[in-house]
C-alpha cells in the first residue's frame, strides 16, 4: 500500500537577481493505486513538483514522504537508488535517446543499473508488448509517431517496475487518437501497489483522475464579500511567490511593496497610501505574487475578489503588482 504525502513544499531559485518560488508552501497527499492529476497552467510549478517527486530536485523547504521513505531526506546512493527503482518518469516531449532503438531506450535504465544485457532485453520486449509496440522495437524514435514514442517512454518508465510513475504533460504533443491510447495506458498502470502522478494543463484528463491537485492560485469566489485586514507595522500581508487571490485597497496607514532578491536583500517597488490599491495583476492573471507586501505603519486594507475589484475600479489594473 503506497502513499504519497507532500507537505509545505517550497522551491526557490534565482532568476535575474530575484528570488522565484515556483512552489510556495504547497501540500497534497495521494493514496495507493491512484491516478493523481496535477492540474494547472504553464508556470504554476507542476514540473517543479514532479522533479521533486522524482528525486531530481531538492526543495528549499518542506518534505515528501513516499511509501514510508522521506524522499527529501535522501542523499547520495540512497537517492540514486530511489531514482532508479522507486520513481519512473515519463518526460514531456518523450525525451527518448534519438540514436537508440525503442528496445534499447527501454533497456537503458536497467543497463545503467547493472542488469545483464539479455535480461534487460527480455524485460524490454515484455514491456513493449504490453504497450502494444512489440513490432516496433527496432525502430528509432524518429521512425515512430508521437503516440508510439510516448508509449515507449511509458515502457521505459515501467522497466524497473517502480511503485511511483510520474508523467509530465503526457498528452502535450499528441493528436486525439494518440491521446486516447496513452491515457488508457496510464489509467491502466495505476493499480494497487503503484501510483501514477500526471502533470497537465489539460482539464480533460481530470475525468480519469482519482485525485486532482490544483496548482493554480486559488480563485476567490466571485460572490465573496470584501474583508478587512488590520496589519501591525512590519507585518507581512503576502510574500513573493505566494498564490494570488485578492486585490487590496489601503484604507489607512501605508503598505510597502518590495521584491526579495537572491542575495537576501530587498528592493522597494512602491509605498501604497490610503485610497490606492495593490496586488491586482496576480488574481486577474492567475499568477503567483511577483512581490511581497508589508505594512510600513499600522494599516488597514480591504481585500476584494478580482470580479468585485474590477467592477469598483473599471480603470484598473493599474500600478502595483
Amino acid at each position: 500500500m503506497v502513499s504519497l504525502v507532500a507537505e509545505d513544499l517550497t522551491v526557490e531559485f534565482s532568476s535575474g537577481g530575484y528570488l522565484i518560488r515556483p512552489l510556495h508552501e504547497f501540500s497534497f497527499r495521494a493514496g495507493d493505486g491512484e491516478l493523481v492529476v496535477l492540474l494547472g497552467p504553464s508556470g504554476c510549478g507542476k514540473t517543479t513538483l514532479l522533479s521533486c517527486l522524482a528525486g531530481l530536485l531538492t526543495p528549499t523547504a518542506g518534505s515528501i514522504d513516499f511509501d514510508g521513505t522521506t524522499v527529501t531526506g535522501l542523499v547520495g546512493g540512497a537517492l540514486a537508488e530511489y531514482r532508479r527503482h522507486t520513481a519512473g518518469v515519463v518526460f514531456q516531449a518523450f525525451n527518448l535517446i534519438p540514436s537508440l532503438t525503442a528496445r534499447a531506450n527501454v533497456m537503458v535504465p536497467l543497463r545503467l543499473a547493472g542488469v545483464p544485457r539479455a535480461e534487460a532485453g527480455n524485460r524490454a520486449d515484455v514491456l513493449l508488448e504490453q504497450v502494444g509496440l512489440a513490432e516496433r522495437g527496432h525502430h528509432r524514435p524518429d521512425q515512430m509517431s508521437g503516440g508510439q514514442q510516448q508509449r515507449v517512454a511509458i515502457a521505459r518508465a515501467l522497466v524497473q517496475d517502480p511503485p511511483l510513475v510520474l508523467a509530465d504533460e503526457p498528452t502535450a504533443h499528441l493528436d486525439y487518437i494518440q491521446v486516447e491510447g496513452v491515457l488508457r495506458l496510464l489509467r491502466g498502470i495505476a493499480a494497487p501497489g503503484r501510483m501514477v502522478v500526471v502533470a497537465t494543463h489539460d482539464e480533460r484528463i481530470t475525468e480519469l483522475a482519482d485525485t486532482i491537485v490544483e496548482l493554480a492560485p486559488h480563485r476567490a469566489d466571485p460572490g465573496e464579500e470584501p474583508h478587512e485586514v488590520a496589519l501591525a507595522a512590519g507585518e507581512v500581508l503576502f510574500r513573493q511567490g505566494a498564490a494570488s487571490d485578492l486585490v487590496y485597497v489601503v484604507e489607512s496607514g501605508e503598505v510597502e511593496i518590495f521584491r526579495e532578491k537572491d542575495d537576501g536583500t530587498e528592493e522597494r517597488v512602491s509605498v501604497v497610501t490610503p485610497g490606492a490599491y495593490f496586488g491586482e495583476l496576480g488574481p486577474l492573471l492567475h499568477l503567483p505574487r511577483s512581490a511581497s507586501a508589508r505594512a510600513r505603519t499600522d494599516a488597514t486594507v480591504v481585500g476584494y475578489n478580482s470580479h468585485l475589484f474590477r467592477r469598483l475600479h473599471p480603470g484598473a489594473p493599474g500600478r502595483a503588482p
Binding site: T47, L56, R84, Q92, N95, I97, S99, L100, V108, L112
Partner: protein
C-alpha cells in the same frame, strides 16, 4: 560503462555524416602532419643517400667549409694525390661540388647541384638508366631533374649531353645532383684551375695537409643538414600546428555533439547514469573520431606525397606515433565538453 558504450556507438551511427566530416577534416590535417614528418625525414634520407652513394670512408674538406660539402672551399688537386699516399688510405679521388647551379634545359631552367667527379673514381655514379660518364661534355642527372637521357643541356655556357640518370641523388631539400667529369666542373666555376672542394677516400687518412680536415660520412651528413636547420625547424613547428588544428577540429565536433546531446545527458542522468559515464561517452567518441581520422591520414598520405617537390619519406615511427597522438588529441578535445557532461542537470530532462 558498458551501457554508455552502446549509447556512444549508436550516437556515432546516428550522426554519421557529422562525424564523417570531422574524420575527413582531421584526417587531412593528420595526413599533412605525417607529410611534414616525411619531409624532415626526407632531408635526412636524401643527404644520407647522396653522401653514402659516393662510396667513401672519409671526406677531406677545407677547415673553412665547416664540414658542409655544399660549401665551396677549394684546395689544390695535388693534395688529393698526397692524401692517397697517406698511411691508411687505399684510394683517394677528387670532387668538385658546386651547389645551386642553373641547368638550362629545353623544358626550362632547373636549379641543380653540380658534382665534378673523376670518371671511374669515387663519387662517379652508376647510372640506373642510360650509361655512365665516359668523357668530357657528358652529364649524368638525377631523375628528379626531369631531364631525359639523350637530351642536351647547358651548364654555364657549356653544352652537355645527358648520358644517364641516377635515382635518389638530391641534396638541400630535393635539389637534384648532376654529375660531370671533374675537368668540366673546374672549367665551369674555377677557371679551369686544378682545384677541388673535397677529396674522398677509402681507408682512413691518419693525417692531411694543413688547412684540411677529415670527416666521416655521418659528420658530413650532419653538417650538410645543418644548412636546412631553419627549414626543418619551420616544418616541425608547422607539424605541431597541424596536430593542434586536428585537435581543434575534433574538439569542435565533440563540443557541438555535446551541445546537441545536453537533453540526452539530462535524461541519462535522470535514468541513473553518472557524470563520469557521460564524460566517458564523450571522450570515447572523440578518441574514435581521432583514430578514424588517423587511419584515413595513413592511407591518404600515401597519395599526397606528390604534392611536394622535395623527397618525402614518412618514417615508420610517425605511423606508430600517430594513433597515440590521435588518442591524446581525442582526450584533450573531449575536455572542452566536460562541463556539458558533468554539469547536465537531470531535472532538465523534464523540459519540453
Amino acid at each position: 560503462m558498458a551501457p554508455m558504450l552502446v549509447v556512444t556507438l549508436a550516437d556515432l551511427t546516428y550522426r554519421f555524416r557529422q562525424f564523417l566530416i570531422a574524420v575527413l577534416g582531421a584526417g587531412v590535417v593528420f595526413a599533412l602532419a605525417l607529410l611534414m614528418a616525411g619531409l624532415v625525414n626526407g632531408f635526412t634520407t636524401e643527404t644520407a643517400q647522396t653522401v653514402g652513394g659516393v662510396g667513401a670512408d672519409r671526406w677531406v674538406l677545407t677547415v673553412g667549409s665547416n664540414g658542409r660539402i655544399a660549401a665551396v672551399g677549394v684546395f689544390p688537386e695535388a693534395d688529393v694525390a698526397r692524401i692517397a699516399r697517406m698511411p691508411g688510405v687505399r684510394r683517394s679521388d677528387p670532387l668538385v661540388i658546386l651547389p645551386t647551379q642553373v641547368l638550362r634545359t629545353t623544358g626550362g631552367d632547373i636549379t641543380v647541384n653540380v658534382v665534378g667527379v673523376r670518371v671511374g673514381g669515387l663519387g662517379d655514379p652508376q647510372a640506373t638508366a642510360g650509361g655512365d660518364l665516359t668523357g668530357n661534355d657528358q652529364v649524368v642527372v638525377d631523375v628528379r631533374s626531369g631531364v631525359a637521357v639523350g637530351s642536351h643541356v647547358l651548364l654555364g655556357s657549356t653544352r652537355f649531353r645527358v648520358v644517364g640518370q641516377v635515382e635518389n641523388r638530391t641534396l638541400l631539400a630535393g635539389t637534384p645532383m648532376v654529375y660531370v667529369p671533374i675537368g668540366d666542373a673546374q672549367r665551369l666555376a674555377l677557371g679551369g684551375r686544378p682545384l677541388v672542394t673535397a677529396a674522398v677516400t677509402t681507408g682512413v687518412p691518419t693525417s692531411v695537409p694543413p688547412g684540411l680536415r677529415v670527416l666521416t660520412n655521418q659528420a658530413v651528413e650532419q653538417s650538410t643538414l645543418a644548412a636546412l636547420g631553419p627549414a626543418v625547424s619551420s616544418i616541425n613547428n608547422t607539424k605541431l600546428l597541424m596536430w593542434a588544428i586536428s585537435g581543434i577540429i575534433v574538439a569542435a565536433l565533440v563540443y557541438v555533439s555535446a551541445l546537441q546531446r545536453v537533453r540526452d545527458f539530462a535524461v541519462l542522468k535522470a535514468l541513473g547514469s553518472s557524470s563520469m559515464a557521460l564524460f566517458f561517452s564523450l571522450a570515447l567518441q572523440a578518441i574514435l573520431v581521432a583514430l578514424a581520422a588517423a587511419l584515413f591520414a595513413m592511407i591518404a598520405s600515401q597519395f599526397m606525397d606528390g604534392l611536394f617537390q622535395q623527397p618525402v619519406s614518412i618514417p615508420t615511427g610517425a605511423f606508430v606515433a600517430l594513433p597515440v597522438v590521435a588518442v591524446a588529441v581525442g582526450l584533450l578535445a573531449s575536455l572542452v565538453a566536460l562541463r556539458q557532461a558533468t554539469g547536465a542537470d537531470p531535472a532538465a530532462a523534464f523540459g519540453g
